[in-house]
């Protein structure tokens, strides 16, 4: 019964999201586009954190690479948008394979340090490699051409772009969800709770962690690829550890225990950020305080706490 109510709510939410360009102003279209993209970014992070139990502080490396890849392909090759996104996913998957290979062998403390360090290494490369990335100025001046697959869309129109993002994020979310619900996903959850027992059941835990890491990286790259045309620039900030902190906070805000938690977290995060940056520049300070409070008092997150309570209490 309760699952039906939740499904109903979800359907209403999706219908609402589709209808937004006809019922709300451009402001909301922009905000929601950002929420969706960052939500995907956070959901990809949650695959490795909430499900597999690996805390990475360098997830922005894959997001940023995705942005740069799309920007570079648009600038130099002018391929259709879908092709750019595929390149973004491929590039970030490859980077995740390299970084993951070096990092998943080690325990969680090392893993956290390493992902932070490698993330900053990618940042340093993007910052320095002026000839390719245009350094601290970032890449700009790319425009979206065609969408691909013969579908004719005016991607420059924010409402159109919003719907494109909505569809792509929805599909990506469904794919991620299926992965989480599969036997593979069940093993990931088991790895978070007791990696030793999983290895004694005959599985090479490192391999599973690496695969999860690569999948997460590629979806982060997809999100990054969606972000570049939205921001109209691909800059090193997207690779900095402060960007890596965002999916962490979103996942914790929304709740790492439920698939939609990161999306809820993204919405709350973006709305909070928009509101707070309107009267202060110290958004990072507020972010830090919120993260601290959430970790200490509301570890399950907003959606997590709410759903846990509702599902347990009203049995």
């Amino acid at each position: 019964m309760k699952t039906k109510i939740l499904m109903g709510l979800l359907a209403v939410a999706i219908a609402g999201l589709i209808a937004v360009p006809w019922i709300a102003s451009y402001f909301y279209i922009f905000i929601l586009t950002e929420i969706l993209i960052l939500g995907l970014f956070a959901a990809s992070f949650n695959l490795i954190f909430g499900y597999t139990g690996m805390l990475s502080f360098g997830h922005a490396a894959f997001f940023g690479i995705g942005s740069y890849a799309t920007a570079l392909v648009l600038i130099h090759l002018e391929w259709p948008f879908l092709a750019c996104l595929l390149v973004s996913m491929g590039a970030s998957a490859l980077l995740a394979l390299v970084i993951g290979f070096l990092s998943v062998r080690l325990n969680e403390v090392y893993f956290a340090m390493l992902t932070l360090a490698f993330g900053m290494m990618v940042f340093a490369i993007a910052y320095q490699w002026r000839s390719v990335t245009n350094g601290s100025d970032g890449l700009a001046g790319f425009t979206l051409g065609s969408f691909g697959l013969g579908v004719d869309l005016i991607l420059g129109n924010p409402a159109v772009y919003y719907h494109v993002v909505l569809v792509i994020v929805a599909i990506a979310a469904v794919v991620l969800y299926l992965i989480c619900r599969s036997s593979f996903g069940m093993i990931l959850k088991a790895i978070r709770q007791n990696p030793e027992r999983v290895s004694f059941a005959g599985l090479n835990v490192r391999t599973y962690r690496l695969v999860a890491f690569v999948i997460a990286g590629s979806f982060a790259g997809l999100a990054g690829g969606l972000m570049a045309p939205f921001l109209r620039v691909a800059s090193p900030e997207l690779l900095h550890w402060s960007m890596s902190a965002e999916p962490v906070l979103m996942a914790i805000l929304g709740g790492t225990g439920y698939f939609l938690g990161p999306f809820v977290g993204s919405a709350v995060f973006v709305l909070l950020e928009t509101w707070i940056t309107s009267f202060t520049e110290s958004w990072m300070l507020v972010l830090g305080i919120i993260l601290a409070m959430m970790v200490i008092f509301f570890r399950k997150g907003l959606l997590g706490t709410a759903l846990d309570w509702w599902l347990e209490v009203k049995k």
């Binding site: 062998r105 969680e108 090392y110 300070l285 830090g288 970790v295």
Partner: protein, 289 residues
């Protein structure tokens, strides 16, 4: 000859400074099993506090060297009692998350209090200028850094191997439950160790202040360097921290001189190489999952 000599001295200078900072990180990890992500921010606070004491209050450098780290240590005690104590009994991930949050808070607070601009701390009269050594002229202050580094190295070695406090810390690092059973007040040890780590970071900050311009990004740079040091040397190993720091110092000293284009990347490459062949670090153990 003079080129190599200068590079060597530079390496030693950078290396020992890194050691001072990384060893605090290492000690906190050894006893508390957490990486304090805010460690670099505490280093930065030490530098900025020294700046305030020297430039705004008018104290001599030596007074700042004494007082600023104590101030940061007190702050660390507050952080521990107010925030970290909720987390110690939980998953390691929660500690990492919380110290990361503290990093964000301190970083931004520094920006708010002191501004985003660059500040400069002058070295004290006694230590400014340069001397002739190994065929090249070397800043006196660099030599001072080396001396301080060596003194701290000796002091820490003595602390861990010859004193009761050191033995308690080592015991607590090896087995928390056993240490508690033997009536060592681990609550106090935990707070004390955390404060001590912060003190060391701040000393590093004060010592580094006259050498570098102060900006709100200095904490970030140093924490990455510290991570590289402990990964190369091995987490939880005191000699490892020294080895890692010297290696990184050499990379900076020689890389900066002879390979300036890729200088930024060399430390990461060094770290990646160590990880490929010795994931525990050169002297560490128990890092693998």
């Amino acid at each position: 000859m003079s080129g190599i000599g200068a590079a060597l001295l530079n390496s030693l200078d950078i290396g020992l400074l890194l050691f001072i900072i990384a060893v605090g990180l290492n000690i906190v990890f050894g006893v508390l099993n957490i990486i304090n992500f805010a460690h670099g921010a505490l280093y930065m606070l030490g530098a900025y506090l020294a700046f305030t004491l020297i430039n705004l209050v008018g104290m001599p450098f030596w007074a700042a060297l004494l007082l600023a780290p104590i101030g940061v240590a007190i702050l660390a005690v507050i952080i521990d009692r107010l925030l970290l104590r909720f987390i110690y009994s939980r998953d390691v991930a929660d500690s990492l998350l919380l110290t990361f949050a503290i990093l964000l808070i301190i970083n931004e607070s520094v920006r708010v209090i002191w501004g985003s601009g660059i500040h400069v701390v002058q070295p004290p009269q006694l230590l400014s200028g340069s001397m002739e050594l190994l065929g090249s002229s070397v800043s006196t202050y660099s030599l001072f850094v080396i001396v301080v580094g060596l003194l701290l190295l000796a002091g820490l070695w003595y602390l861990f191997n010859r004193t009761r406090v050191g033995r308690i810390m080592r015991a607590a690092a090896l087995d928390r439950d056993m240490a508690e059973a033997l009536c060592i007040n681990t609550r106090m040890v935990v707070t004390g160790v955390f404060a001590f780590g912060a003190w060391l970071a701040a000393v590093g900050g004060v010592v580094a202040a006259p050498m570098r311009a102060l900006d709100p990004g200095m904490g970030d740079k140093i924490i990455i360097e510290s991570f590289i040091v402990v990964v190369i040397g091995g987490l939880g190993s005191f000699p490892g921290a020294l080895l890692g720091a010297i290696v990184l110092g050499l990379i900076h000293g020689f890389g900066g001189r002879y390979l300036p284009e890729v200088n930024l990347l060399l430390p990461f490459l060094g770290m990646a190489l160590v990880l490929l062949f010795k994931p525990n670090g050169i002297m560490g153990k128990g890092a693998t999952a």
